[in-house]
Amino acid sequence: MQPGQLAIDFHAILPEIITVLAAVLIMMIDAFTRRINRRVAGAVALVGLAGAAAAVVSLWGGKVESSFSGMIVTDDFRLFFAMIFIIVTFLIVLISLRWVEDEELPTGEYFMLLMFATTGMLLMSAANDLVMIFLGLETTSIATYVLCGYRRRDLRSNESAVKYFILGSFSTAFLLYGIAFIYGASYDPNLSPVATTNLQLLKERLASDQLFSGPMLLAGAAMMLVGFGFKVATAPFHIWSPDVYEGAPTPVTAFLSTGSKAAAFASFSRVFILTFFAAAPVASGMTDSAVSALREVSTNALMVMAILTMTIGNLVAIVQNNVKRMLAYSSIAHAGYALVGMVAGDWRAVAFYLLSYVVINIGAFAVIEVIARRGDKRTEIADYSGIGFQTLGLAAALSLFLLSLAGIPLTAGFMAKLLVFKSAWAAGFHVLVVIGVINSAISWYYYLRVIVAMFFREPATGFQRPVLARSLVAGLVLAILGTLYLGILPGRVLDALEKASDIMTTAARR
């Protein structure tokens, strides 16, 4: 094979190249100077992210192209998710710039791992091949395993890392087994290559119903459902996430609950919506083929998962007394709402949901990080009693984020839920929408509980007004602006999403 046939196009992976170079640069400065200054490391990370964002913008343009022998695909689906990941890491770097010094943790490695994790996430959205999805997923996971245990002397942090590591690799094994089965199911001796993990080729083979083995396809899809279900923390595969989120350092929790979750959703949507569902249009007439069985079975499975996830997440969140743990259950519930969009087969609603959710959730965790103080000591709801009037700005910001998570109109949370429920309703999943709405009503209880504690309870003892770093204030302001912007003026983002291209739209145009 000649290099020319590999379709090498470095422009197509420019965002990933830039983030990797930023990470390696931080590493090298850290190694040369023995101890990197946190401002330098943060600045390199932020500049790298800005460069990656510019590269993403330069790729934008409604086209669908695959490169690197079909490993990488450039479509608006990828670019939209890439923007979400860049926003996540940008905000996380801002809110942890001061934190990492206050905690006396190694600075260079922290930002380096964040950038490597971001690279993995970018690759997950860009992947057009199950091998690439696996590599991106593992790059993200390995970096985040380390980040979870970053506070090395803290038993909670250690425990969180061990649990995340064991259950993370356990779920990876399931995902891999699913990939192996799907590779097997795609075998066709008359085609070249005879078997494939490439999603585009896979879709064509599925659509033509030329499969080696239908049961193998279903088994593979089921295994992948388990693997992705673990990664996005959907019930019944959610047990790891409260423990991991509670024990990990707060900015890392913010990163896990937004970045890795959004990345897993990106691959999940790419495989299930843009490949499996796209291969079997609802009115295709192939009623008893393996492909339509796949669509039916996985839609049902996703629906059950969505209902369980929303309900368990919200009900268990009510009884939590630790704010981080409560937000962990809340983030399980939010994965459930995003799954509603996936059941409807509408990745645009999922993407908008995740964009809103990451902005709001990082904002909330930023406030929690400041109030928790050094070593995450104050994270019980009792610690929030009466702090509302002692530190009005922070309490007001946290209230805004919590209300937005609950879905109050004029904020991002409301728009996001509206879109997801609307597309599920339009696709005919009425029961699911009703359960979703009931669940968001339940969620008001535990979000309001924190706000009530902050403003209407006797002040907690030993609360000192925290000193805010400028970078953290910048991150908070950006999160607040984002929450309001996506809630009040979502028009431009929605427009961009409406026009966004993916493999499905181009197939329809053809």
Binding site: G149, T172, Y177, A195
Partner: protein, 100 residues
């Protein structure tokens, strides 16, 4: 030749033994070894399919899995050592600081 289904059966068996081990075993290192067993079950499936189809891409995937598993093992051992230093125990039942 040995038929394909034998290989697939063996790898399914390996995967299941690994998965059961994760649930049954209480030592962190043993659990980790069970996960490696699951990964190797998958590798066997990929190699068997790849050999049966006469298509190398499955074997290349196995390379990737091996390399990633090594990186994961290095990170995992480091994490396990750090918890051992603080707690002096590898039993997962002792890791209950974060329970409800």
């Amino acid at each position: 030749m040995v038929p394909l289904s034998w290989y697939l059966g063996l790898s399914a068996l390996l995967f299941t033994i690994g998965a059961m081990g994760v649930f049954i075993k209480r030592n962190t290192i043993t659990i980790f070894l069970c996960i490696e067993l699951m990964l190797n079950g998958v590798n066997l499936t990929l190699v068997a399919l790849s050999g049966f189809f006469g298509d190398v891409s499955g074997q290349l995937f196995v390379f990737m899995v091996i390399a990633v598993a090594a990186a994961e093992a290095a990170v995992g051992l480091a994490i396990i050592i750090s918890i051992f230093r603080n707690r002096e125990s590898l039993n997962v039942d002792d890791a209950d600081t974060l329970k409800l």
